[in-house]
């Protein structure tokens, strides 16, 4: 993190998203719509946990830089 843009986190999130959409389609074709919804929700929460530390880093960087 920090000065480098690491593309790996984008790759990870994209992989999770593709997996989640495949699971979602399989489960909804099998007639388990509630489990499909839960799967997409879990994927969303996991991805959000990865992203939230970057957002925190952005806000702390802006705050320290402009002397707020």
């Amino acid at each position: 993190m920090g000065t480098t843009m690491d593309i790996n986190i984008i790759f990870q999130i994209a992989a999770v998203g593709i997996l989640i959409s495949v699971f979602n389609q399989v489960l909804s074709k099998a007639g388990r719509d509630d489990q499909a919804m839960l799967t997409s929700l879990v994927g969303l929460v996991v991805v959000l946990f990865w992203v939230i530390q970057y957002i925190n880093e952005l806000f702390t960087t802006v705050r320290t830089m402009f002397g707020m």
Binding site: T4, I10, I13, I20, S21, S40, L58, G67
Partner: protein
């Protein structure tokens, strides 16, 4: 070095746009999160350059009379407006324009609050002239 940085930003955004467009039809939530992450990463990449500019203005204002330039208030206003625009753009990308306008309204009011000392100074100057 600056040319390399610009190229890195463009390639990074092309790759993230690819994933956003792939993910959009099947899982739109994760697509919007990738969008958010891409903008955060590009800003974090830009920060050293922005820090150079801020340090330049700070050193420049120390040569002048610090109090009359109000450079610290201007920097704080830039900070507020950047964060405000960041949130508003995320809301607009997600297609929720009403909350985006509320974020912009909040940013405008906070900037007004921050610039109150300057406004009072201007009013005092006007009163002394009259």
């Amino acid at each position: 070095m600056i040319y390399d940085s610009m190229m890195k930003i463009v390639i990074f955004s092309i790759i993230s746009i690819l994933f956003i467009l792939i993910l959009k039809p099947n899982s739109p939530h994760i697509s919007s999160i990738v969008m958010l992450l891409a903008s955060v990463m590009i800003f974090l990449f830009i920060t050293p350059f922005l820090e150079q500019i801020v340090l330049f203005f700070n050193s420049f204002s120390s040569y002048m009379n610090y109090k009359t330039l109000y450079i610290d208030i201007v920097l704080k206003i830039i900070c507020i407006s950047y964060i405000c625009e960041f949130g508003a753009e995320i809301c607009k990308d997600a297609g929720i324009n009403s909350i985006a306008t509320k974020i912009e309204l909040g940013g405008k009011i906070l900037i007004m609050c921050l610039s109150l000392p300057i406004i009072s100074e201007v009013l005092k100057t006007v009163m002394t002239i009259l």
